[in-house]
Symmetry: C2
Subunit: 431 residues, 2 copies
């Protein structure tokens, strides 16, 4: 199936001149198969169109920001109403208080909220609060976890100096003994333990939260005075209508939120308990657009949808239907998938595919058939991914699997060897 | 003149429960006279209404974000058109390339652009790029300058650890010898020199850029390989239609931009030259909303207004009219103002007012008469601050000056002594 590429390739060429290396960060398609479009023209519900008019069913959902569907009317209407009054003004609107009240009501561990823009702002505020609260410097983070793209945590250490990481110590996620050893090695200086809601690392099967690990984290923090931070930026409100650890009964002191709680409008948040309140009050953090009213109106409308609809249950059902259907299709064509993580945040890898070549070939075929999957990053369903959308997805992936069986060599030889080299380097660097 | 306060005070009380200490950051009115409203209901053109319906002519302009007037139709229309297509998607739209091209065309020193959300993101990217480019750690910043609210630069050091500041070295702005000494003391390890376009510190008369200082900064960077960064987040496009140093002929390697270039829509930017390109390409920075299309549409429309209208010349004329009028009114009532900075970014202090009591009393009176001034931070005009608005401002400030002569004791005794204590502490800490 040949798809038009002219507009995208032209833009990529222009971008290479006026951006340092084209599109950067998590929106760069530089690490993806060459068939992935870089630029998009339109998005509605669960679907995206690239700048050449090719349509995709989108399982990245703006990397999680799209929870109820692109252009979801109840949220857009609330945003439009506030926009007529004011957005970025010389102070906040009343919505800032209403939003903090609504958020604190929904998240059991939270007594207060702060709003910011990036997920990285939220994790930075959590870290500064923990350091202010404890007077300690050390932060314990799980090896391979992503907590943002600031010098203290960005995954590529270029432009990062040793001082930025001097007090960042890693432990193994879900490994209580490893966490205990890290605490012991930095006894008396631990400010915070950062934990993802579950292990959602790239290039890897996802892992459910181990309760012993979570309980150990809580106990070590309680014993030492350090703060426990759950980074819910990626998974927030796709696991629960509360903090993603709510089902365990284990409460963090602080949680970091972003992405989806305003359905794509730019806002992130930090929630904390009373223990952390004074420290959060004492730090100085701010941003030019942190008090803007329109994203807060969108967030209030989104939180209402989260509370009042069965979006979560429906996403789980449809995610499971997709998962089951893909497993059947793979088996029919002689492949075995490793599908992990919550069904509504699927990670789809191939078994026996150590250098990801099969997965990349399949992802490329899915793109050609109009399904936007990611070959190594967890994905996201939205409430707009209903039965019809999943049925259509499976029709398209069925064709992709057939083509995959017909020929593994969807990637060019050059692409395949570059991918193998990258995966080998990655494996070596994580030793 | 008694103004309604009920709604504002109720919200302040509610905010104290669900935000750590009420509104935080630069939008907190905690450091301002008690008459300042905290929450706003509406904004149009040059005017704001608080949540009790009181109207103000606004000289903060969303702390600079409002360049053409709140709700400026040409920008809002461009944003609305893009909003119908898509905002935060799984990748950028073509507008990202168009915006980078437009920005690079307008700013002489720039060969490339990157977009982000906060001003602090832009200065962080500049710093990481300089460290990646040089392999050095030290950053030289002017004492008292504001470059954002991240651990490396936030003005209050709570939650900041020594490692965050280990390589941050201060020099005196406009003092070539001081900059030279800082370079000498860290010879071989300077990554970047940060400079504001002119000295726009809080609580102080503003200072024009000294050409010898600027030239020295350029020469020292050229000789050492360090990068020169002009932080234009606050003043960008209010001094020039180019980098604010353009009139000097001295070009930075990197400039940081934010606030006004999308007329209040959330976006910031880093611009750099080819020397800094590879380093900027190599760092990993990103954010959930950095690629959103609507703020880019708003930015393109705003840049067009900047290029094609006489907004800048008109802001300068009206700023000067305001300045002249205030000087006359002050003199008529026996006061002497110290009005500094560009007329379109006025700083208004009182002479012989070391503890700021007169200025705070006057600011309080201006608020009561419907003029939103700031007693210690530079202010901003917008293109919507036309002759009619300035005339109305002066009618109101005339009443404020009369009342000020009638009684200095507009602030309560408690407020006055708290202010004196704060100013004394501030003076002591800057010794």
């Amino acid at each position: 199936m040949v798809r038009a590429r002219t507009n995208d390739l032209n833009l990529v060429e222009r971008a290479a001149k006026v951006l340092p290396a084209g599109v950067y960060g998590h929106h760069s398609v530089g690490m993806l198969p060459s068939g992935y479009p870089q630029f998009f023209g339109r998005a509605v519900g669960a679907r995206l169109w690239d700048v050449d008019g090719n349509e995709y069913i989108d399982y990245l959902c703006g990397y999680g920001t799209n929870l109820f569907g692109y252009g979801f009317e109840p949220v857009e209407q609330a945003a439009a109403e506030q926009r007529r009054l004011g957005d970025t003004m010389t102070g906040p609107s009343a919505l800032m208080v209403e939003l903090a009240e609504a958020f604190v009501d929904m998240v059991a561990h939270a007594d207060w909220a702060m709003f910011c823009k990036n997920g990285s702002d939220a994790t930075m505020i959590a870290l500064m609060t923990a350091r202010a609260h404890t007077g300690n410097a050390t932060v314990l983070v799980a090896d391979g976890a992503y907590h943002g793209a600031m010098p203290w945590c960005t995954p590529r250490q270029v432009g990062v100096i040793p001082a930025d990481r001097a007090h960042v110590v890693t432990y193994r996620y879900n490994d209580a003994a490893s966490l205990r050893a890290a605490f012991e090695a930095h006894r008396g200086d631990v400010a915070a333990v950062f934990a993802a809601p579950y292990r959602h690392d790239v290039y890897a099967d996802q892992e459910d939260l181990d309760l012993d690990y979570a309980q150990t984290a809580r106990e070590l923090c309680d014993a030492s005075g350090a703060l426990l931070v759950v980074d819910d930026v990626r998974a927030g409100f796709r696991i629960a209508r509360d903090c993603s650890w709510a089902h365990t009964g284990i409460e963090p002191d602080i949680s970091a939120w972003g992405k989806c709680f305003a359905n794509g409008h730019p806002i992130s948040a930090v929630l904390g308990n009373d223990k952390a309140r004074k420290a959060a009050a004492d730090i100085y953090v701010t941003g030019s657009y942190w008090f803007s009213a329109v994203p807060m109106a969108a967030a209030l409308a989104t939180l209402r949808q989260i509370r009042e609809t069965d979006y979560l249950e429906k996403m789980i059902v449809q995610g499971q239907r997709l998962r089951d259907g893909l497993d059947r299709q793979a088996a029919d064509q002689g492949f075995a998938l490793s599908q992990t993580g919550p069904a509504q945040m699927p990670q789809i890898l191939f078994r026996d595919d150590p250098d990801f070549v099969i997965g990349f070939n399949w992802a490329q075929l899915c793109i050609e058939h109009g399904v936007y999957f990611h070959p190594f990053h967890n994905m996201f369903l939205s409430h707009a991914h209903d039965g019809t959308v999943v049925d259509e997805t499976l029709r398209r992936t069925g064709m992709a699997f057939e083509a995959l069986r017909g020929s593994h060599a969807r990637l060019s030889e050059g692409e395949t060897s570059a991918l193998k080299r990258r995966i080998a380097e990655r494996a070596a660097s994580s030793d």
